[in-house]
Symmetry: C2
Subunit: 125 residues, 2 copies
């Protein structure tokens, strides 16, 4: 547990629910540790994912977002401005029937709702 890792985790805890990308985390961490390298960010994020503390999300927005694992939830994304919201979701609610599982051991599933946020629904573009 190094200062670098503490700083990264702190950003994730403070900015919970912004779902930052590695790049955004990198940008923010510059404030306190201006010469942290990208490699450190990526290393740390991967380890935290490995440890099960973070989840890495691909939401169809063209980047990888990192999310502290707090509770069961799905994501709601604005296809226009890329805003991301958490929504409550019970992962027990949806199961893949055995006969459709192709013999897979299913470990989890993810749900993404896509649409337009209030602002973008009014003025598309």
């Amino acid at each position: 547990m190094t200062p670098q890792r503490r700083a990264i985790i702190q950003i994730l805890v403070e900015d919970d629910n912004t779902h930052p990308t590695a790049e955004q985390i990198f940008a923010r961490v510059q404030d306190t540790m201006p010469n942290m390298s990208p490699a450190t960010i990526y290393n740390t994020l991967h380890e935290l994912v490995e440890m099960g503390v973070l989840s890495e999300l691909e939401l169809g927005l063209g980047g990888r977002h990192y999310d502290l694992i707090m509770t069961d939830h799905a994501h709601l994304v604005c296809l226009d401005c890329k805003r991301i919201e958490d929504v409550p979701y019970d992962h027990g609610a949806l199961a893949l029937p055995d006969e459709q599982a192709h013999g897979f051991q299913v470990v989890d599933h993810r749900v993404i709702f896509r649409g337009y946020c209030p602002a973008c629904a009014l003025s598309p573009g």
Copy 2:
């Protein structure tokens, strides 16, 4: 409708359910049109997505996969070998309650089941 577009569409129709990436399509199209440029692939795919013929999938596998829109289905991915399977899924089955929608106009949602295919479940790594 140019020969290039026909070739790309044909690959998608023939290889339905392999969910190729742009790169994979690019590689395959070389067989018949060796000097098609990447730009053409990407342009065409984007247009087809725009037209609603294809959907672009980010499945957490680190690339963008293209899928002919035939029928309602979800995706099942192997976290190890990255195999992708279609599974039947009724998109009417899951709805986001208004009070959780943050005012969004929800247009659709996507479901990804994650797990390990039979081969990878036996010999992980």
